[in-house]
């Protein structure tokens, strides 16, 4: 343990810029995410497959995109679908998407709890029918809504984030809960997935819907490229039909299936590759430093000895080809920051120090 190491405030940092490798837990993601130009289309109004190596930032981009859409207050409506298990049933994805949609609908209503009562009865009934497939059942979620104090309780249980900045569950939420509970769903059948998408547009004012699909390769059954391709095909087949209705599929996939012919078969699907070079990696450091210093400086040079220049590029260039990934540059920086002695700064020696044989992971 380095006892002499400098504290973050001494270095001018309000938080540790290199703390998070895991985007899901990173509250600063939105302010320092670097999006390579090749994948900027992930935020555009079009279907897209994003390919990346493991650790290449797929999930970070997915979370970033979802936050980005949420900021539009649902006008561009994000639905995140990460399959919860593997099933060979070709309809599995669509029922998974329905569940994700139900989560999104509930969290939207909770974000603007007064909206519900302004809808006509038919719409309200349709909403209730959609919500019936929520995980743990509608009653459980309504119970949670009525007894929880904070909206984060619901966010955590449902695994989705709210659209508005409301923090506490208030009277409106209890009213919403009661209304939903009391409402008769009616005898009508569950609306089709297409009808559910339509409802997002008519009731919530969504102009486009963005289906963010990730984690498809996270199962033993789908670790091989052919198996994975076979599994996602039903989604690709729905793509064109969806696009015509401003429903855009954004699917995040491992690099090894990028060149598969069956991906190319779906003409409507644009593809982009999340790839990193030295300059982008240097940009990752600079943005993090910028955010952590509250915009006071944007380079490690600022906390380096006078003769140190271009420290970010120096660090990026040191990474061997197979390690030119965000996580490795972040780990490298973390190590360097940890080694700055008390009262000291980053020196050329520190910058060029040989790395230990096997790197840590966290």
């Amino acid at each position: 343990m380095t006892t002499a190491k400098r504290g973050l405030p001494d270095l001018g940092f309000a938080f540790d810029p290199f703390e998070h490798l895991d985007s899901a837990r990173d509250v600063h993601l939105q302010s320092y995410m670097v999006i390579p130009r090749a994948v900027e289309s992930a935020l555009a109004e079009q279907p897209l497959a994003v390919f990346a190596q493991p650790g290449g930032g797929k999930s970070a981009l997915r979370i970033y995109a979802s936050n980005f859409y949420r900021d539009s207050r649902g006008v561009r409506f994000p639905i995140t679908y990460v399959p919860d298990g593997y099933s060979a049933d070709p309809g599995a994805h669509f029922s998974g998407i329905e569940t994700s949609l139900a989560r999104a609908v509930l969290i939207y209503l909770v974000s603007y709890p007064d909206l519900f009562s302004s809808y006509d009865t038919a719409t309200r009934r349709e909403i209730k029918r959609i919500l019936q497939i929520l995980p743990f059942g509608l009653d459980f979620n309504l119970g949670l809504m009525q007894s929880a104090r904070f909206i984060t309780d619901l966010e955590q249980t449902l695994g989705v984030s709210a659209f508005s900045g409301l923090k506490e569950m208030g009277m409106s939420h209890r009213d919403l809960g009661r209304e939903l509970q009391a409402l008769k769903a009616g005898a009508a059948a569950r609306p089709s997935l297409d009808d559910q998408f339509d409802l997002l547009k008519t009731a919530f004012g969504a102009k486009s819907i963005h289906l963010l699909v990730d984690g498809l390769d996270g199962f033993m059954e789908t670790s091989s490229a052919p198996a994975l391709l076979k599994w996602i095909e039903p989604l690709f087949e729905a793509l064109q039909n969806w696009e015509a209705k401003n429903i855009h599929l954004k699917v995040f996939l491992p690099m090894d299936i990028a060149d598969a012919p069956s991906v190319a078969r779906f003409g409507a699907l644009r593809t982009a590759t999340l790839a990193w070079d030295d300059h982008l990696l240097a940009e990752i450091i600079r943005k993090r430093v910028f955010a952590a210093s509250s915009g006071v400086f944007d380079t490690l040079d600022a906390i380096s000895a006078p003769d140190v220049r271009g420290s970010e590029l120096t660090l990026a260039r040191q990474l061997p080809g197979d390690r030119k990934l965000p996580r490795h540059i972040i780990m490298k920086c973390k190590k360097i920051i940890d080694q700055i002695p008390g009262q000291g700064w980053i020196t050329n020696e520190l910058l060029n120090a040989k790395e230990a044989a096997h790197d840590g992971i966290l």
């Binding site: 490798l21 895991d22 899901a24 837990r25 493991p54 650790g55 990460v82 399959p83 919860d84 298990g85 593997y86 029922s95 995980p135 743990f136 059942g137 009653d139 459980f140 979620n141 119970g143 949670l144 007894s147 309780d153 955590q156 249980t157 695994g159 984690g215 390769d217 996270g218 199962f219 033993m220 059954e221 670790s223 996580r327 840590g360 992971i361 966290l362």
Partner: protein, 449 residues
């Protein structure tokens, strides 16, 4: 007032689960900080390297995290494969979590009167994850819950709650729901601990246990629930399976090695010694530090177990004598308590404590093997010769076909014994292990029982 256990306990039990005073003497391994992060971590260590101690200390230092212990076991019914096996294994994990909720989490106090949705969730877990009827399960372990707690559970189970989880509910949601209960009980998060895997070796049900770990760690959704982390304390031998899972390669779980520096190990035994002697002592104040420390480094390996085991008699000696052992006394002590000897028969190795000595020659090794399997026996040169050369359990009579005149092998036997001593004795001139009883034969001493 704390009760100080006697030094032989402090240095010998080394069953971390029994060491209530562990926190007072715990020396965090270099990787401890990473273990305590809120990520999933796999800690590899050899037996005796202090995995369980690290786990207990981690639990102690994270009182606001709910830390159920899952002891993986082979699945008796037909085990599934792939994601289905992950689901089956998670069933076991959930069971461990629910049992820990009952016995360790103090739910009645923490939840008091839970809101309906928490009550229904908890009821589901109790009714579904326990091995048999939940009420019977609770009643079968009398005394573990007090009357009020029992009543609390009886009331909870009697309530007519809707079932919140269906066949369709995925693994992640199940974990998420459990986390909701845990958070409602005012814990910050949930760490599933896995330990005690050493029981399963490859010959028994090890492969099946490995497959469970493999399935869980290859199902990324399980590792992606914020608030839930897995802390797996695994024998190093499992790295070959676990290290290849996508959970590890995609960095959902970090692999770290439980390794100790000689400095850490010394600090550890000094803390224990200080605790045992109720005063602050260092190795230097007990004996000749250089001699003893050098000896520990050579034979004690890099895990705490042997360092502590070898030091226990030193503490006793120190207490008996009432003062520091001089250099000569330290040397004499070491000679009286040499590192125990063990044979590695698969690879023809002699282990002195944690020091490994390869014995290349099969004949030489058979000499040791014979003596080791007849503890307390003085083996005559004849016995040893016939066993080593001809694999005969007894010496043939002259005239039997296998009988060979003594003069033809005597010199070769002497050479073999000389070579063995060169290889394994700390001081071949004054053998400690392979000793000669003049006119009778050889005896192998300090063989580990």
């Amino acid at each position: 007032m704390k009760t100080v256990p006697p030094s032989e306990v402090l240095f010998k039990t080394l069953k971390a689960e029994n060491e209530t005073w562990l926190g007072d003497v715990f020396v965090p391994p270099p990787v401890f900080e990473r273990l305590a992060s809120d990520h999933s971590v796999i800690l590899y260590g050899e037996p005796g390297s202090g995995k369980t101690a690290a786990r207990l200390e981690l639990m102690k230092r994270s009182p606001n995290v709910f830390t159920p212990l899952w002891k993986p076991e082979p699945i008796m019914e037909t085990p599934a494969t792939g994601t289905a096996l992950a689901a089956q294994s998670m069933g076991r994990v959930l069971r461990a979590c629910v049992e820990a909720l009952i016995w360790e989490a103090g739910l009645p106090k923490r939840l008091n009167e839970p809101p309906g949705f928490i009550a229904s969730a908890l009821q589901w877990f109790l009714k579904t994850c326990l091995p048999y009827d939940p009420l019977a399960y609770l009643q079968n372990q009398p005394g573990r819950l007090d009357g009020d707690e029992m009543k609390w559970y009886e009331k909870l189970l009697a309530e007519n709650q809707p079932s919140v989880i269906t066949e369709q509910t995925g693994l992640k949601d199940r974990m998420q729901l459990l986390l909701s209960i845990v958070r409602h009980a005012k814990y910050d998060g949930l760490w599933v601990m896995a330990d005690e895997l050493e029981r399963w070796d490859a010959l028994r049900a090890g492969e099946q246990v490995e497959a469970q770990l493999d399935a869980i760690l290859s199902t990324l959704v399980l590792l992606d629930v914020p608030g839930i982390a897995f802390k797996l304390f695994l024998p190093s031998s499992l790295r070959k399976v676990v290290g290849k899972t996508s959970g590890v390669s995609r960095r959902r779980a970090a692999e770290v090695d439980l390794e100790w520096t000689a400095g850490d190990l010394k600090t550890m035994l000094e803390r224990r010694a200080s605790y045992a002697l109720s005063s602050s002592v260092t190795l230097r104040s007990l004996c000749d530090e250089n001699l003893f420390d050098g000896w520990l480094r050579e034979y004690g390996g890099s895990a705490p177990r042997d360092w502590l085991r070898f030091t226990a008699p030193l503490i006793a000696e120190f207490q008996k004598q009432g003062k520091r052992l001089s250099a000569d006394q330290t040397r004499a002590f070491i000679l009286r308590h040499p590192a125990p000897l063990r044979l590695g028969r698969d690879r023809r190795e002699v282990w002195l404590g944690k020091k490994c000595i390869p014995i290349g020659s099969a004949y030489e090794f058979r000499i040791l093997d014979y003596l080791a399997s007849h503890p307390g026996k003085i083996g005559s040169l004849e016995e040893l010769y016939y066993y080593a050369q001809a694999e005969l359990e007894s010496v043939p009579d002259s005239g039997e076909p296998k009988w060979v005149p003594r003069k033809t092998w005597r010199a070769a036997m002497d050479t073999m014994i000389w070579r063995l001593r060169q290889k394994m004795e700390p001081n071949p001139g004054e053998p400690l292990y392979l000793v000669t009883h003049h006119g009778k034969g050889l005896e192998l001493l300090h063989v580990e029982a």
